[in-house]
Symmetry: C2
Subunit: 171 residues, 2 copies
Amino acid sequence: MDIERRSGCPINLSMEVVGDRWSLVVIRDMMFGNRRHFRDLLTRSHEGIASNILASRLKRLKALGLITRMDDPSHAQKAIYSLAEPAIALVPVLAMLGAWGRRFLPVTEELSIRAQLLEEGGPALWEDFMRDLRVLHIEDPIGGANGTRKSPVLARLTQAYLDVRARKAGG
Amino acid sequence: MDIERRSGCPINLSMEVVGDRWSLVVIRDMMFGNRRHFRDLLTRSHEGIASNILASRLKRLKALGLITRMDDPSHAQKAIYSLAEPAIALVPVLAMLGAWGRRFLPVTEELSIRAQLLEEGGPALWEDFMRDLRVLHIEDPIGGANGTRKSPVLARLTQAYLDVRARKAGG
DNA sequence: TAATCCGATTGCATTTTACAACTGGTTGCA
DNA sequence: TGCAACCAGTTGTAAAATGCAATCGGATTA
């Protein structure tokens, strides 16, 4: 699997790689939701991705070197999907894209609190987050997937999301 | 014309708006190439966009409020396309996306020099550029389109591109 | 041992994309 | 005044992508 290379422009090539409806959404779920199994990505998707689309995206992202796939030693049928360095390096892109969406599109509060924190944290926070992601996805993908390994940054983002959700449900 | 709103997540909504093969490429050409007419966008496209796709993208981006369209007073058949504020606000996204593409994808030197300058310039340069774009596309779209109005930042980026191209052709 | 869970695949209808040819009209130049 | 070049698109058609629901064979769990 390869991209078309219609031109050598970085923006064009980037769009050839992630310029579709689902690739960045799948990467987002792996990155911010720490969803590392097929079923997890499928059933906990807020947007309701179809299973054949998810399968084709995972295969494609793997072929392009953005993610990796390994057998889960705790379960003969499970596979662990992990972010590779190119996908981890998308953190600043996703941060800016989230900031843009938050400003111009009809986002909901609970689903944009993480984007807000990431925007306010700036490049320093992005670097911290990327360091954490390298541990969870590259150094120790198994521990990262099963929750043995934790990311302080991810924990903060997740807690903020849960807080907003609880407040909106309770108040 | 409207987006689906499968979820209120800023990244999802952003991908519903610009998550396709061509939208950001068209915006890139308007922004960095100052291409403001249909024929200009069509025939000077490095990637060879098809005319029906270009027409449908322009219509869609206009409906979504990212660009505007006006008659060109100097020519009864020409239309001037201009970036609206939401598209101008994509500068940081395009800068980060270009930086990512430059790092991980097979870009060419001449087509990535502008991305390099934009990356090195950082947020300060992006702000300058966005200010310029507001003049060329919102305050004075006609002068911006016909070259009466100039952008210092765009002039620098364009000159750097022409220099690299000349060097590669001549040396 | 029966129900559930696992990562997918299959079949099929709809939508989008791609490419080439073409349209009705305008403009600039000889 | 006539004609070539240019203008913003549209049309026709084939190929590919998407979306959805049902399903697969095997593994795990209660």
